[in-house]
Subunit: 448 residues, 2 copies
């Protein structure tokens, strides 16, 4: 994909053919150039960055890692810094400022124009993970009485530094959102058409304080390229574009993966997270689960007597615990993911439980049959023990499936994140249950 | 969000105010209308669908569930069917045809125009999960010698039924892709500019047979709205738009969730998958893991003697097994997800292992300290047993972390899907290891 010539750039840089380097970069994709800069040694990063044609500089800058952004900020003049800030989209500027040390933030804001500074400060105040925190301010605003021709003239004049020009927003004198018109609509209608006659008044929008997950859902449901964001007085304050939503989607999925593996979600990519931070994210759940699983140990101790009488019983404990854990894991994963992507709603709880009950019965039956065959071969004279094992297996599988699917829904019902009711916690719970079932059955059938 | 008036539609439908219903729907979003139709009883679905203004009909149709699409196809005339097929984008048509029964597919193809039929047949042949399988054919193709004015005229004439008009593709007489020009470029340049002077020749593209995951990566990396797809002779055959990519991203994440919970990925949403299918997806891994965990049981039996001598030892088995499983799960999840989103590469294996080793050491230490404090309170006279437990804990946590992070990378190295090396398999493996460590230490320290 693409035709980025890494070696050519490296060669030009090493031979100090700067004019050629500059010309070559001018034709390249800003993402590739950012990647190239990231791979350079510290002092060369600024050298290459300064060589960029000015219309590329801010774009490339926005794709750099925050460490490199900081390094460049610290190496350039206030004037150059001011230029970058003006050219960045507000959302990219805000993303960067949220990660930079306070002293650098101060210098950045000092060099921004007053308007930009006010805007950035406003955007910095939206709560984390809200629609406001992922939106940007650079949109095309039109008026309802403009003609298509006037709209095009306006876009030609003001479109260069807008994040998207393809969806334009029609606002009234109070900045309240009245309609949406796409460039496609503009192109498909004669020049003299009035915007208000072609604008779509059935607007899908978000409010600044809404959660970003709802923004993602709207994009998914309506296949949007761009979503307007209004404040609590219905005034248009920004837009969210699809590229930012794609990023949020990945983040949200990653967070679910982390929570479902009993970790607190981390802010940074794995390799950039320190050992201490990783440990801190993992220890709380490990501690909780460790102490919970001691209860399971206590159950084992209670039935020590049974184990003394029929020592063979012990050899099936790992199998029962692992299998029930795996079964619960399967169900809870299906349900958690199903709820995350909107396939499963809370009102489906009975449908889901009934389904899992039957799936559990089927799985339990097959596993028990396979196990029974093996047991008959290995311990042909221990019919009763074999019976205890397979009966426990069927029962625990059914139980695990039912617990696994209902707990995440219960969590959701209580406004908790369903993802915490995943494998680790479910395993600990069903482990205890499966041992209880196993020993109760053993005591009853083997008359211990 | 949005202003969809469900109750109004229901009322109009119930009172048979069909003209009003038709007018109301004309202003609504096609996704909302599709949802409304889905909620109706069978005979009303077709009734409502037929009432749609014709420019909306195909759009709404493409958002319906395949069952409803089938029902509508079976209820309309060949002429109506032909109209729908012509108005659908090829990718939506192909998605639908892949799910419909053969007899319905036959009727659909029979009623398509010869060109459309040829195109659909071509698209149906691209391998599942390839770039070709998610692309569509409706793009704007320009020629290099056109002026901006001519380009606009062309778009005005041909843009109505294109999936996107915002990115236009410049091809030569052999249909080979030469450049890309956006509507923004067109708007920002004077009418007499020649396309070849403003088109971007540094094109990011995909080949029909490439995996859809690579398409997703390109969209993520370059923040694309649309990606051209060429065949093996570099001829432009289609485009992938960002809305389809968002869908693929969700699918791929769901598949990873399923694989990581020891299930074969399912094709359909949970509630639409039958009990039998769900069981079939889950049983193979459950069987494999069940038999593997019997090995762990065998280890327990080997050390039955130790358990007879110091019965207390048994009470810590669930805690050790659960904790090591959880630790392995945490590491493998971080690594699998990190590789999926491109944060971790195979060449980082040493960095990752070294990191996990240290994280494991920290986690092990904290868990052991917490446990030791508790053990001292509960069994103050069993210092040696307590020592065995905490030493085993530290060692198994470190081991679990190391195994958990290396196995997924090993899988990737062997061109397997890293997601199979997730919690369930890792748990089974580290369970066995942790019991070995525990009993070895117990035998050594307690002199059994």
């Amino acid at each position: 994909m693409g035709n980025f010539d890494w070696e050519l750039l490296t060669e030009l840089l090493e031979n100090r053919q700067f004019r050629k380097l500059r010309e070559t970069m001018a034709d390249m994709n800003e993402v590739d150039i950012a990647e190239f800069i990231e791979e350079q040694e510290l002092e060369k990063k600024v050298l290459v960055y300064r060589m960029l044609p000015k219309e590329l500089a801010a774009d490339v800058f926005s794709f750099l890692e925050v460490e490199d952004q900081e390094h460049i900020i610290n190496s350039i003049t206030d004037y150059e810094l001011g230029k970058i800030i003006e050219d960045l989209y507000v959302d990219d500027a805000v993303d960067m400022l949220e990660e930079l040390p306070a002293i650098v933030v101060k210098r950045v804001l000092k060099n921004a124009a007053p308007d930009t500074r006010a805007l950035i400060n406003q955007f910095l105040q939206y709560p984390e993970n809200s629609a406001g925190s992922i939106m940007t301010a650079e949109y095309i605003g039109l008026k309802r009485n403009m003609t298509v021709e006037q709209a095009f003239a306006y876009i030609r004049e003001n479109g260069v530094d807008k994040e998207t020009i393809y969806t334009c927003f029609v606002t009234d004198s109070k900045r309240q959102l009245q309609g949406v018109v796409t460039v496609k609509d503009l192109l498909m209608n004669p020049y003299h058409t009035i915007i208000k006659d072609i604008m779509d008044e059935n607007i899908i929008y978000a409010v600044t304080t809404e959660d970003q997950e709802e923004v993602v859902e709207a994009f998914n449901k309506y296949d949007l390229l761009c979503l307007p964001v209004v404040d609590h007085e219905d005034r248009l304050v920004g837009i969210v574009t699809v590229d930012d939503v794609v990023e949020v989607m990945e983040q949200e999925a990653t967070e679910d993966f982390e929570k479902m593996a009993a970790m607190l979600p981390s802010e940074k990519p794995y390799l950039k997270t320190s050992v201490l931070e990783l440990a801190k994210n993992r220890i709380p759940w490990l501690l909780l689960l460790m102490f919970t699983s001691l209860l399971t140990g206590a159950i084992l101790v209670t039935y020590e007597n049974a184990l003394q009488v029929v020592p063979l019983l012990i050899s099936f404990i790992p199998m029962l615990m692992d299998t029930s854990g795996n079964c619960g894991n399967q169900s809870s994963t299906m349900v958690i993911r199903g709820m995350a992507v909107g396939d499963i709603e809370l009102r489906d709880v009975v449908k889901v439980a009934w389904k899992e009950l039957r799936v559990g019965f089927l799985c339990g039956l097959v596993l028990a049959a396979a196990n029974f065959a093996r047991l008959l071969l290995q311990y042909p004279d221990q019919i009763l023990v074999n019976l205890v094992v397979v009966l426990s297996l069927v029962l625990t599988v059914i139980l695990a499936k039912t617990i696994g699917c209902t707990l995440p829904m219960l969590a959701k019902r209580m406004n908790l994140d369903p993802a915490i009711m995943a494998a680790p916690l479910i395993t600990t719970i069903v482990d205890a249950c499966s041992l209880m079932i196993y020993f109760r059955l053993a005591c009853a059938l083997l008359k211990i």
